[in-house]
Symmetry: C2
Subunit: 103 residues, 2 copies
Amino acid sequence: MNFKGTLPTLILEALVHEPSHGYRIAQRIKERSEGVLDFKEGTLYPALHKLENEGLVESYEGMEKGRPRRYYRITESGHGTLSKDRAEWRELSRAVTTILGEA
Amino acid sequence: MNFKGTLPTLILEALVHEPSHGYRIAQRIKERSEGVLDFKEGTLYPALHKLENEGLVESYEGMEKGRPRRYYRITESGHGTLSKDRAEWRELSRAVTTILGEA
DNA sequence: ATCTATACCTCGCAATCCTATGCATAGGAT
DNA sequence: ATCCTATGCATAGGATTGCGAGGTATAGAT
């Protein structure tokens, strides 16, 4: 079960603390939401490529346990977008919650 | 600006209080969200047709100011769906808010 | 030796929403 | 009188988002 439109924001947020690679980003989102949010690989990788294309994240080749991994780090521009996305989420979620009834 | 996936739920919610027609439902959603949520007609009408197709709302021909209007009322089944949708919204929005940081 | 988890990727499909467009009427402005 | 705007319903084309299925490959456990 997922929320359309929130994935790019969740990815950026995951990269604020430290650079990471796709698979781990997905795990992190799942864990931090206690299993509620569970984006699939077929969704995550294209989303990462798009963010890179837009210059919101940068990737570099990393090594872990003798295997190559594609690491992503958030850019200056990405921080700006994340900040706006957070504000937008707050505004929209408050609006929906107001209508649907809180608690 | 809108939230993908919440429209059917918002429509059902709007019909709980009283039957209404498309144009007014859209206005109501916009007003109750203080302009934040603003679904377009090209989105709303197909959504209503789909809800009717699924048996969650029923429509009937109404008259107002000498002009015909298509009124919708929520069904038993629609109430059940609304209840589940509310719960799902709570779960998902809580998950996203937890990750993106509250307040 | 095989299975599972890790790790990355692409393709086709469905759902959702937007813009643009069309039609039609009522009421106010010019 | 005519035009514009708001009301009211509807469809078509396109973009975006996400999913499932499939492909490739390595490391570690059984």
